[in-house]
Structures are given as structure tokens and as C-alpha cells.
């Protein structure tokens, strides 16, 4: 089973600390600095969204150059191998993979960004002269044995890493609760029978 990051939306306060931690970690690891987790706010819902690490990952299936691979328990983008064709971003059902490049702003004489497109343009269509893009998506901070930085950074513990062990213990807990619910039903029936007996004048044991 793949590992993935799960979120409890009622705990999310929309602070964006997950995105900052994601940026910081990847930049230090020498990878694209773009955050791979985004806070989405709409009406009644606030949630951090990121890659689901699909078992049958469409991004991996469409990649023409084999730059997306299934490592042990997650789906990984090889940034050096990616050609920036954006096919993966098109097929991702969650909008969790997108192109990103390192801007030349601030480098050798270029002091600031000179935008050549409106920000309302889909990030699948944007391009900046001289900027080579590659796909970025959540890699569960595989460069760090301590695990995903967003999970440890979240101030309200709204994020958690679901692993095979945690997943099966969760399933175990659910089965136990289901069994217990049946127990409650049995208890309820017994109670109802006792009440009926009492009403009929029988003795309550």
C-alpha cells in the first residue's frame, strides 16, 4: 500500500504553515522550491490539498520519458529526467501535480520578475522566457528520514501520514467499533425484551 497524507478539515485554520515547511524542506534538499501542498479555502471548507499517491497513478502511466516512478510506497518525480511536457498535470484528478521552474529573477542583473502573463492564466499554459520547468508533486519528503515536513509543522495536527501499519490499525479500530455497535444492538434488544417482560408483569432479572 502507498503511504499518503490525510487531512482533518475541521482542524485546519488555513495558516499555510504546511506550504512554508514544504517549500523550506525541498529548497534545502536542492529540489524545486515550489510548495507541493496548497491550502484551499471555499465556503464551508478549508483544507490542505496534496498528492494522493494513487496506486494506479495516471501521472505515472502517461509520462513519456519514465520520469515518474513508483518507489517502494509512493510515486516519485525524477526532476532531472522530466521534460516539462505537462501531461501528468493534465491527467491528475486532484490538481496535485503542476509545472514549476526556477525563475531567473534576482540572478545576474535581472532584479525582479517581469510577468508576461496574467496570473489568472492556467498554470498548464503559462511559461516564462528562459525558465525550464519540470513537474512537482508531493514526495512525502523522501529526502528526509524524519518524514513529511508538513505533518510535523501543522500547529493544529490537522495533517497526518497514513502508512500501511497506521492504515491497518485504523481499519482494525473501525472493525472493532462496528463489532461493538452490534454488541450495543444486542444489548438494546435485551433491554427492550426486559422492558416488555416488566410491562407484562414479569420479573426483571
Amino acid at each position: 500500500m502507498n503511504r499518503f497524507i490525510a487531512i482533518e478539515p475541521d482542524r485546519c485554520i488555513g495558516c499555510g504553515t504546511c506550504s512554508s515547511a514544504c517549500h523550506e524542506g525541498h529548497e534545502r534538499a536542492g529540489l524545486q522550491a515550489e510548495p507541493r501542498i496548497r491550502v484551499v479555502q471555499m465556503g464551508e471548507v478549508t483544507a490542505a490539498l496534496t498528492c494522493h499517491q494513487c496506486e494506479d497513478a495516471p501521472c505515472l502511466a502517461v509520462c513519456p520519458v519514465g520520469a515518474i516512478v513508483h518507489e517502494d510506497t509512493y510515486v516519485h518525480v525524477l526532476e532531472q529526467q522530466c521534460v516539462g511536457c505537462r501531461m501528468c498535470a493534465v491527467v491528475c484528478p486532484f490538481g496535485a501535480i503542476h509545472p514549476s521552474g526556477t525563475s531567473v529573477a534576482g540572478v545576474a542583473g535581472t532584479a525582479y520578475d517581469t510577468p508576461v502573463h496574467a496570473p489568472t492564466l492556467s498554470d498548464l499554459l503559462t511559461w516564462d522566457p528562459g525558465v525550464y520547468t519540470c513537474a512537482v508533486k508531493c514526495d512525502l519528503c523522501s529526502y528526509d528520514p524524519a518524514g513529511p515536513h508538513c505533518v510535523s509543522a501543522c500547529p493544529t495536527k490537522a495533517l497526518r501520514l497514513v502508512t500501511e501499519e497506521a492504515g491497518s490499525s485504523l481499519a482494525d479500530a473501525k472493525r472493532l467499533r462496528a463489532a461493538d455497535a452490534e454488541g450495543s444492538i444486542a444489548g438494546f434488544i435485551a433491554q427492550a425484551q426486559a422492558a416488555e417482560e416488566k410491562e407484562a408483569g414479569g420479573e426483571v432479572r
Binding site: 523550506e24 464551508e44 471548507v45 525582479y112 517581469t114 496574467a118 500547529p155
Partner: protein, 580 residues
């Protein structure tokens, strides 16, 4: 008047004009925990803020209705039989007179002003007044930055008294501050009418005490109240104020009507700034004194809930930078009053001797992660989490005074020409005037210039504005460009901007109107209009260029300090010699 950790243990948390997720995520976390522990959450805010999502009752109030809303809430508490008659009888004065005003404010009579249905108002009254074991009202700048701000605080305090939700653990009011150490600067006497420890300058006994401690004749200490920051502009304009010493502030960015502020600064004979970066304010300074940054100094902060916390320096000051207390000591010495301290502890201990309420807050108690919540009058005292225990208030007879006020409309109401309400708010991520966090790349990735103007989809549609586009917003004071953030969490007819953006600077638009007593500006309400910029590509380049130009101007101003590397090196070795 409770502690912030205590918010988790209340039966009800009522947020009024306060958005903790944006201004204090750490408090927002406490509220999430309170909810998980079973507390009822009530949110009254024009916007559907983060906490409104987990609220048991969300009240979408109209902008500028505060006193009308609270009076109607108080009216419901009394008329629905939730008033705590024993508490009112035993611990308050002035109920009859208070009720004379409040009885007029039925929820029906003010529904047009508040936008809240009578049914919801009755529910809120019940949920708040009947909460067990206690209820807390958390309020922030949505109360303080309004025309009737002090009056709103009177009204809030009366609501808590009448409902009996004060004077017991984890109850009462939880006023939060707009910045991390506003409470501390007030505690230490950075107020025009107070010595440290809230001891009035108009009180001869206090002047006597401080004059004796500081070894000066009592006539040397001013016997009247000084001016407030928001008075600076008109005092400079009328020529009463000649010199302004500005301390780690960027009033051009953070005070209302930026253009008015700039013109006033230019009129001063002498303008001194103490800061760590060149800002839009320090640009106009005659003298800039280099202070130390948050990582370089140590001292004591006070949190919103009166908690003193000691913090340590991570690195020593660089170059010519010196601690604020060293600069003040040197300045004082050169102006004829020799002042010398070896460290902050000496200053703190002197202050403790002079402030009875802080006397027990020693550095020893604050060691490590220790903290002290004042009042802490003796060395054995462990601090006070909740004020007014047992309903004993700090009045001569120990009783609270209930005060009611009539609602007045905000100063500048929307009209045909300026149909939108502009309300200034906070965003999570960047801090205050952004002079510090604007230099942080991780935070710039989350949000960057020209900033955002948050609006309802209907207001956006009516002007052909799409999410993410650049818009122009203007008022009677000025005009700026910003980026549209269209969301159904925003109420119709109002737009929200954050005062931290340099290009989309909302204070170029805000009205300089202040409360009569506190002189706090009415940042939450001015009238404006906006439109979509037709050529979006031009607009994108324009705002990027403006930002780059501004940064270049700041860098040019700052370049005056550039010196030969050899001189800079010797300066870093022997900072004292260079400064003398």
C-alpha cells in the same frame, strides 16, 4: 480578563470582531481544542472567517454595527430571563440607568443595522449567558479600530457583567492585541498618560515616587498627559510638533491616510528613526539609529493575557547595531541625565521596585519557559490568570459600573460615488508593515505584492472582475492597484485589504478619523470604489515595476551607510569607538 490557555476550558467562546486564524494562529489552535473539548463557539463577523466554519452559531453582522448589535444582545439576555440578578445586585452599579438605554434596543428595532434576525439574536443570548462553567468574549481590532471603540468596550464589559460571565475562572473578556508586544509597551508606560505599571502622570504621589527613584526634581516630570501617535499628523501640520522620535514603527505604511502622514513628516524640524531596515518611513528621517533585530536582543515580552515571558538572543548584534536600551541610555546621558545599565535585568529590577503589580515577576521565575501573569504583587505570588476573582473589580467600592451607549453610524458612509465599505484586516503569513517578513522568500511564495483585495463574487461580477486579476481601488484620499481575491466568504458591499502591502497599500485609501478618547483610528470603515484594469498584462508589469522601483529607492536611501570594507571591519570590531 482570562488567560489565553484558559480559553480551552470555557463552556462558550464568543468571538466578536476577531479573526484568530489570521491574526493569532496560536489562539486559533486553542479555539479548535476548546471546540473538541465541547465548548460552544459563537462567531459574529461580517466575513465567514475560518472559525465560523466550526462555530455552533455564526452571526453575519453588517460592518459598523457593533454597539447596536451588543445592545440588542444585552436586551435579549435581560428580556429572555438570562440576566444574573445576584451578580448584578452584588457586584455592579448603575443597572437602572444602563437598562434605560438598552431597553430601546430590541433585536427587531436594529435588524436593519445589524443584519441579524431576532431568532439568531435570542439564540446567541441563550448560548452565551447559559454556558457552563463559563463563557469568554474574545475581541480584537474589529472592536478597537472603529469610531465608537471605547464605548464598544464599555458595552462588552456590561454584557459580561449582566450575564454573570465574569469574575470566575476562564470567563470575562479576552481582548487580544494587534501586535506581539503592545501589551508590554502599555505595561512599561509607553502611553501618553502613564508611568510604567499604569500609574498616572497626573497623580502627584506617583510623580513624587518616580522622581525620587530616578533622582530628579519632581518638576522635571511632566504633570499632564502627552499626545498620542495619531495626533502627530495634525500637530506637525499646525506647527506645534517640531521633533518626532519614531521607534520601530512604519507609520507611513500602518497609519491611516499615508499621503497625509508623509506630508506631516516632511514638515518636522527633526525626524529621528530607530529601525533595522530602511522603510517608507525611515526614508524621510534626518537621523537613523540602527537597532537590533528580534534574533539579536533579549528581554521580556508581555502577551495579550498579561503574561510576562523572557526571551533570549540567538546571535550578538552586528556592526553598529545596538540594543534599544543602550541607545536610550546613551541619548539620555548626552542630553544631561547620565543613565547606565549593564543588562536588561537591572532595568527590569528597577521597574519591579516601582510597579507594585509587577513586583513578583522576577527573571528567576521567567527562566527557561517560565512565565508570570500580572498582577503578581509579591515574590511568593504565582501570578493571576483571571482578573476580578469573585466579582471584585478595581473600583474603590469593588463594584463594576455598567455603562450603555447609543449606536452611532461610522464616519464615512458609502454613497453613490463610493459605494463599497473598505475594511482593513490581517492576513496570516506576513507580519505588520512587512518590513521584516517581506524579505522572507518562503512567505513571499505564499502571498506577495501587490497584495490582495478580498471581495464577494457579486461585487466582482458587477465590475467584470475575475479572481486573481489586478484591480484599481480608490477613495477620497487616494488610489492603488491590488489583486482581486474573490470569495463567497466575503460579505456583499464590502472589500477587505491588509495594511502590510506596499503597492496595494490600503492606508492610501483609509480615512483619518479617530475615537474621541482613545484616538484609535477608524481603520475598519471607509468608503471606496473599484474597477477592473482593462489591460491586465500592462497592470502586471506596472505593479512589478512599482515594487522594484520602491525597493530601489529604499536601497538608495540605505546606501548612505555603505562604507569602505576596511572601515566596516574595524566598526564591527570596536563598535563603541565608531559611535562616540
Amino acid at each position: 480578563m482570562c488567560s489565553i490557555p484558559g480559553m480551552e476550558n470555557a463552556g462558550c467562546v464568543f468571538l466578536f470582531g476577531y479573526n484568530p486564524s489570521a491574526s493569532h494562529p496560536i489562539v486559533a489552535r486553542r479555539i479548535v481544542r476548546a471546540k473538541e473539548k465541547g465548548a460552544k463557539i459563537i462567531v459574529a463577523d461580517p466575513r465567514h472567517i475560518e472559525t465560523a466554519r466550526i462555530a455552533d452559531l455564526y452571526l453575519p453582522i453588517k460592518n459598523g454595527c457593533n454597539i447596536a448589535f451588543l445592545n440588542a444582545l444585552a436586551n435579549c439576555i435581560v428580556n429572555d430571563g438570562y440576566a444574573d440578578k445576584d451578580f448584578i445586585e452584588a457586584h455592579t452599579n448603575g443597572y437602572e440607568q444602563w437598562w434605560e438605554t438598552i431597553k430601546k434596543y430590541t433585536p427587531e428595532s436594529v435588524q436593519d443595522i445589524t443584519g441579524i434576525s431576532p431568532a439568531d439574536m435570542h439564540r446567541a443570548a441563550e448560548m452565551y449567558a447559559t454556558a457552563e462553567p463559563s463563557a469568554i468574549i474574545g475581541y480584537g481590532m474589529g472592536v478597537c479600530q472603529q469610531r465608537q471603540n471605547l464605548k464598544t468596550v464599555h458595552t462588552l464589559a456590561a454584557v459580561a457583567c449582566v450575564a454573570g460571565q465574569i469574575g470566575k475562572p476562564n470567563s470575562g473578556l479576552a481582548p487580544v492585541r494587534g501586535q506581539n508586544n503592545v501589551q508590554g509597551s502599555c505595561d512599561m508606560g509607553c502611553l501618553p498618560n502613564m508611568f510604567p505599571g499604569y500609574q498616572k502622570v497626573t497623580d502627584p504621589a506617583m510623580r513624587e515616587k518616580f522622581a525620587k527613584a530616578w533622582g530628579v526634581p519632581v518638576e522635571k516630570l511632566s504633570d499632564h498627559e502627552g499626545y498620542k501617535l495619531t495626533d502627530m499628523v495634525h500637530l506637525a501640520n499646525e506647527g506645534t510638533l517640531h521633533c518626532f522620535y519614531n521607534y520601530g514603527e512604519d507609520p507611513v505604511q500602518t497609519e491611516p491616510d499615508s499621503q497625509g502622514t508623509i506630508e506631516a513628516l516632511k514638515k518636522l524640524d527633526l525626524f529621528i528613526c530607530e529601525d533595522i531596515f530602511m522603510t517608507q518611513t525611515t526614508m524621510y528621517a534626518d537621523v537613523i539609529l540602527p537597532g537590533t533585530s528580534w534574533g539579536e536582543h533579549e528581554g521580556v515580552f508581555t502577551a495579550s493575557d498579561r503574561t510576562f515571558q523572557h526571551f533570549n538572543a540567538a546571535v550578538p548584534p552586528k556592526g553598529e547595531c545596538r540594543h534599544d536600551w543602550q541607545i536610550i541610555s546613551d541619548l539620555s546621558t548626552r542630553m544631561g541625565y547620565p543613565m547606565h545599565y549593564d543588562n536588561t535585568k537591572q532595568i527590569w529590577d528597577e521597574m519591579r521596585q516601582l510597579c507594585p503589580n509587577f513586583y513578583g515577576a522576577t527573571y528567576e521565575k521567567m527562566e527557561g519557559t517560565g512565565h508570570c501573569e500580572w498582577p503578581i504583587p509579591t515574590l511568593e505570588h504565582q501570578g493571576t490568570a483571571d482578573l476580578f476573582p469573585g466579582g471584585h473589580f478595581n473600583k474603590p467600592d469593588g463594584r463594576a459600573v455598567l455603562i450603555a451607549h447609543d449606536w452611532e453610524h461610522p464616519t464615512e458612509m458609502p454613497d453613490e460615488e463610493y459605494p463599497l465599505v473598505l475594511c482593513t484586516v490581517r492576513e496570516v503569513g506576513h507580519y505588520s508593515c512587512r518590513s521584516m517578513t517581506g524579505n522572507c522568500k518562503a512567505l513571499s511564495l505564499l502571498a506577495d505584492e501587490p497584495g490582495y483585495v478580498h471581495m464577494n463574487p457579486a461585487d466582482a461580477r458587477a465590475r467584470g472582475i475575475r479572481d486573481g486579476e489586478i484591480v484599481r481601488i480608490w477613495s477620497r484620499r487616494g488610489s492603488v492597484y491590488s489583486r482581486a481575491d474573490v470569495s463567497d466568504r466575503i460579505n456583499k458591499g464590502a472589500v477587505y485589504m491588509t495594511y502590510q502591502w506596499w503597492i496595494g497599500r490600503c492606508n492610501s485609501l483609509t480615512l483619518h478619523a479617530v475615537d474621541d478618547v482613545s484616538h484609535t483610528p477608524e481603520d475598519k470603515f471607509s468608503a471606496c470604489q473599484m474597477e477592473r484594469v482593462a489591460d491586465q498584462q500592462w497592470a502586471e508589469r506596472h505593479v512589478a515595476q512599482e515594487y522594484a522601483d520602491l525597493k530601489a529607492r529604499l536601497a538608495k536611501e540605505a546606501s548612505a551607510q555603505d562604507v569602505e570594507p576596511a572601515v566596516a571591519f574595524s566598526a564591527s570590531q570596536e563598535p563603541d569607538r565608531i559611535l562616540v
